[in-house]
């Protein structure tokens, strides 16, 4: 038995777009929606130097689901999503409380809050193993291959696709709408909270809103790619785009392009190596990031070396 299947152009590059479009194509579409939605919020996290909040909120998903299962006794998707969402937002409030009412700085507060909550989740899952019946692996690593198999959401006779896809598409649409409506406010409160408050903008409400948006994005995504890999998809699109342009709107657009390229690259990689599609998408995303880091016309290392070499 070989670990890596034999390479075949037909199998790796053609079939995912033709005969396998319903499985591999669907997984790639879901991955793209995760990267695109998370990338939008992630761009603002990067802007506010709060990228770590992504780690915090996504790690809190595990204890959230554990508590929800214990409490409701159900294993339904409703309890799961609600538990994850409440925990994600509670993490944000806990971090806020620590920073505002102690001398602990935000980065340390994030470290304290999310690792503790995560540990709590691990303990809960272990102690109540008989009652919580929770697949930890599934929460942390997602279950992308299962998604194309889920019965599709139907609107009359129209089949909209598997539920996670519909949820992600809805959130993506809502995110774009949110951005169009509140772009000014998000930018000003991020750049200069003092002036924003001076102009009468609700700075704290905007901050809470952003965290709410982050929590929703993480919760809609963890089913597909898991609570760990979602962190990469929150930060990679924005970080890559930031290497390529110094303007915000192009950053948001390029982040979405990055998500698309990662999804497609991840699809081919996972078929070629027969590995986890979510993991492959993150690896592909990291490859695009590295490419931007090396070759970005403005900030890339290679063009910089080239210019330095030419100058001598």
């Amino acid at each position: 038995m070989t670990l890596v299947p034999d390479f075949s152009v037909q199998r790796v590059f053609v079939e995912p777009w033709t005969t396998e479009i319903g499985t591999h194509g669907m997984m790639a579409l879901v991955t793209f929606l995760v990267g695109a939605t998370c990338g939008l919020v992630g761009n603002f996290l990067i802007l506010r130097r709060m990228a770590l909040m992504g780690d915090a909120v996504s790690h809190s998903v595990l204890p959230g689901i554990a508590v929800a299962f214990l409490w409701t006794g159900s294993r339904g998707i409703g309890a799961m999503v609600l538990g994850a969402f409440v925990a994600a937002f509670a993490t944000h409030l806990l971090i806020e409380a620590i920073t505002r009412h102690s001398r602990v700085r935000p980065d340390a507060a994030i470290g304290i809050a999310f690792s503790t909550l995560f540990a709590l989740g691990v303990v809960l899952v272990a102690v109540f193993a008989d009652r919580v019946d929770l697949d930890q692996d599934c929460v942390l690593n997602g279950d992308l291959p299962m998604i194309p198999l889920e019965p599709p959401v139907r609107l009359g006779s129209l089949s909209l696709g598997p539920p996670p896809l519909v949820r992600l598409a809805g959130l993506m649409a809502a995110s774009v709408l949110l951005l169009v409506l509140f772009y000014k406010e998000l930018m000003l409160t991020s750049f200069d909270p003092g002036l924003a408050a001076g102009l009468g903008l609700p700075v704290r409400a905007v901050h809470h809103g952003l965290m709410l948006w982050l929590a929703l994005s993480v919760v809609a995504s963890f089913e597909a790619v898991g609570a760990i890999l979602v962190i990469a998809l929150l930060i990679l699109p924005g970080a890559t785009a930031a290497l390529l342009t110094e303007r915000m709107v192009p950053r948001l657009v390029l982040g979405t392009v990055h998500a698309a390229l990662s999804a497609v690259g991840g699809m081919h990689l996972s078929v070629a190596l027969d590995c986890s599609p979510a993991g492959a998408a993150v690896v592909a995303g990291a490859v695009w990031f590295t490419a931007a880091w090396l070759f970005s016309p403005t900030a890339g290392l290679v063009p910089r070396w080239w210019r330095a070499w030419r100058a001598t």
């Binding site: 802007l47 130097r49 409506l181 000014k184 406010e185 930018m187 000003l188 991020s190 750049f191 200069d192 003092g194 002036l195 924003a196 408050a197 001076g198 102009l199 009468g200 903008l201 930031a242 342009t245 110094e246 303007r247 915000m248 950053r251």
Partner: protein, 264 residues
């Protein structure tokens, strides 16, 4: 001295800024005590005091950015949150991240956000005003520049343009001259005097004592408390400055020289 600008005010004669018995504390340690003053309209007022005197704190408390331990601040006879539309603010330059992905024009337009309102985009009129303000500070050629590519003095001028775009009646400026060259300083002070002549009230933190005397109509000497507040000619005296700066001899001798130079 013109006293225009207050005409549109419903409360007629209410002073642009009135502070009563204001105390501000960080973690129970007061850094401003019992500030009590009323600023007249149409004055260019300098705020002077040593490092840590509470100048920035006073401005932030006036803007409602810090909670007051006691006392109150009113602008145009109303609590500050109700008159925010008439107050402009230039924070200390270091208070923001200059790597932010916006252009010079975007930053100046931020000064208009209070007027643009929710769900709307800057109009052509907003852009015209922003360009006009950039022109006043001689930064129009940089309108499309990324802000991280500006020098310190240029950043300061962008902040000033943004404040001008707010079209306020009362301005707080925290060290607008920090890091600008002499020519820019002169052009900025001309702009501030122009605003003053149109009846606006400006409170400006300034660190250079010799020029403070020339620039400002009134001075607020601050060191945890108000040491003196009044017309420059009455307040800029060696005794009061000594009281403000305490035993800092080097500074004091500088001040004494400056005062003597003026007297000559």
């Amino acid at each position: 001295m013109t006293q225009a600008g207050a005409g549109s005010d419903p409360a007629g004669s209410a002073p642009p800024l009135e502070i009563h018995d204001l105390t501000v504390a960080y973690r129970n340690k007061p850094v401003l005590w019992g500030v009590d003053l009323a600023a007249p309209a149409g004055r260019l007022i300098g705020i002077v005091g040593p490092n840590g005197a509470g100048k920035s704190t006073l401005i932030k408390a006036c803007m409602g950015l810090l909670p007051c331990a006691s006392g109150w601040v009113k602008a145009f006879g109303r609590p500050v949150p109700e008159s925010l539309g008439r107050i402009g603010y230039v924070p200390q330059r270091e208070s923001v991240d200059w790597d932010f992905p916006v252009s010079v024009m975007d930053v100046v337009l931020m000064g208009r956000y209070g007027r643009i309102g929710l769900f709307r985009r800057p109009s052509a009129e907003d852009r015209r005003i922003a360009r006009d303000c950039l022109d006043q500070v001689q930064m129009l050629p940089f309108a499309d520049r990324q802000i991280s590519n500006l020098s310190g003095g240029q950043q300061q001028r962008v902040f000033l343009a943004r404040a001008l775009a707010q079209e306020s009646d009362l301005y707080f400026m925290d060290e607008p001259f920090a890091g600008v060259d002499a020519a820019t300083e002169a052009s900025i002070i001309a702009i501030l005097q122009g605003l003053r002549d149109r009846g606006k009230t400006l409170l400006v933190v300034h660190h250079d004592l010799p020029t403070a005397r020339d620039y400002f109509d009134w001075l607020l000497l601050l060191n945890l408390r108000v040491v003196a507040f009044g017309p420059t000619a009455e307040v800029f005296t060696p005794e009061l400055l000594q009281k403000t700066y305490g035993g800092r001899l080097t500074l004091l001798s500088e001040v004494a020289e400056a005062v003597q130079a003026k007297a000559r």
